[in-house]
Amino acid sequence: MNETSDSAPSGRQPGQVPAPQAVSAPVAAPPVLVFRNVSIQFDGPSVLQDVTFSLAPTETRILLGPTGVGKSVLLKLTNGLLAPDRGCVQLFGEDISRMSEDKLFPLRARTGMVFQEGALFDSLTVRDNVAYQLIGEGVPDEEIDQRVHEALRFVELDATFALFPGSLSGGMRRRVAIARALIHQPELLLYDSPTGGLDPITSTTIIELIVKERDVLRTPALLVTHRLQDAFTMCTHRFDTEQNRMVPLPEGQTDPNTTFLMLDEGRLIFDGSLHDLIHSENKFVREFLE
């Protein structure tokens, strides 16, 4: 796979966060998310150690790593579902590392999260699941129905409006979860292994939706996966709104806003573009790719 002309060949060093801009320099949008030397430990050894990276407003970052390496934990640190033992997590410019749960709720409401198994509420219909935040905010029923239909059309599941999650397949549940994450027009999307446990065709459908979201709505996202194929598909495809489907980028091009992170034994060992990933000399990265 070749390098796109837009991608810098050098990439970032793992742990490197963009330095603050000088006053006279062109104003760059501040990162949506910053991790600085974040570590967390449960009963056993450290799950994450000194993790440092950032996520720019138009960026989609794919976090790679084998199962059990701490990817989901990192994602839960992102919106404060877990608090780090050391280091700092900044979400939308606010340090959430020591923030109380009450103050975190409004910040979390500005993010959308797709959980590994969808995490839909079993006792609620698809309509009520997707509209969960809107119902809580007291939005009128007519507006809720309209917005839920829009969100379900985006994931091409409008027919499931009145169904319960129990009657949906695994892939459909993930798509409903994506609709639920999107309905509130989040400023950051978090995907926790959205294709885990799905067959290749359904996985491609889910990845197509994520690419559609990236290219149409342009929301910054952090996606966790251990499936290289999904990551490469995201990087080498774009969503064509005229054909309403995902199409490959021209030979040798990759999406410049889709970059990679890789975890190994709780440490961030790679941070860079697809080109940097493919040409990395790191032994673990090479093994993972091969």
């Binding site: 579902l81 009450d102 709720f105 979390r108 409401a109 590994q116 995490a119 935040q133």
Partner: protein
């Protein structure tokens, strides 16, 4: 090795108590700050109150009947069968009504709360709720807590009433005694402190059932096996605590209102 084990168990116990205290504090104080989920309170009141009414009614009725049967035999030795109504009403209202209702509702509702919330934890629904900006304590625990306290109060009255009726049925139809005598004896024996004692206890039992059920549910780990474990722990802990707190409340109430 043994000392380490005792130390670890002791620390775990203190940590659990601390977590439970913080959990209960948040659940209670949530009622005084918006948002409040009144529809959830009504749904839970229906599930706990109406849903448990039948088992509480039956257990109250037959407990009253058993009390009448057992007491009639003993009282007849002293020629005091006329006191059956007094014995049944005082025992039901002061002690057995509140305790039995608490244990029956604990078996039904502490288990359902622990398993429902535990399932939500292991399927990440609780995390999803938090990620959507909704406080699960406020949405799930506070309505259950206050619904359980208020419904247990009324369920205890139902159990007391049907216990006295059950005792009356046995006294009249099986022991062949006079019904008017039974009910007038039951009524005349009652004093306000007896009723107060009987109606204070369900407030504590309701609090224990919901807080313990939700607490064990929300700290579930270990998948479906963990849900089963949480359910068992919730029912056992709630039942033992109900009896223990009943003892404490009885002691305090007897101290405040000594028997004549």
């Amino acid at each position: 090795m043994a000392i380490h084990m005792i130390e670890r168990t002791g620390k775990q116990l203190v940590l659990t108590m601390q977590e439970y205290s913080l959990f209960v504090y948040s659940a209670v104080t949530n009622l005084f700050r918006p948002p409040r989920y009144w529809p959830d309170f009504l749904i839970q009141s229906d599930i706990i109150g109406f849903g448990s009414a039948f088992i509480v009614l039956l257990s109250g009725f037959f407990t009253g009947g058993v009390l009448a049967l057992q007491s009639a035999a003993t009282l007849s030795e002293f020629g005091a069968t006329a006191m059956t109504g007094r014995f049944v009403s005082l025992t039901m209202i002061r002690e057995l009504g509140p305790v039995l209702t608490g244990i029956m509702v604990s078996g039904r509702n502490a288990s359902s709360m622990a398993s429902e919330l535990g399932s939500m934890v292991v399927t990440e629904q609780i995390d999803a709720m938090r990620a959507l900006g909704v406080d699960p304590l406020r949405k799930l625990v506070t309505p259950r807590l206050f619904a359980c306290i208020s419904m247990l109060f009324f369920l205890t009255i139902v159990a007391d009433a049907f216990g006295i009726v059950g005792g009356g049925a046995v006294t009249v139809f099986m022991s062949g005694q006079d019904g008017t005598q039974y009910f007038s004896s039951a009524w005349e024996a009652l004093r306000y402190p007896d009723i107060l004692q009987g109606l204070v206890k369900p407030l504590f039992s309701g609090f224990i059932i919901a807080s313990i059920g939700c607490f064990y549910g929300m700290r579930t780990t270990g998948g479906t096996q963990g849900v089963g474990r949480s359910t068992i722990q919730a029912v056992v802990t709630a039942s033992v605590l109900i009896i223990f707190v009943d003892f404490l409340v009885t002691r305090v109430m007897l101290g405040l209102f000594p028997p004549l």
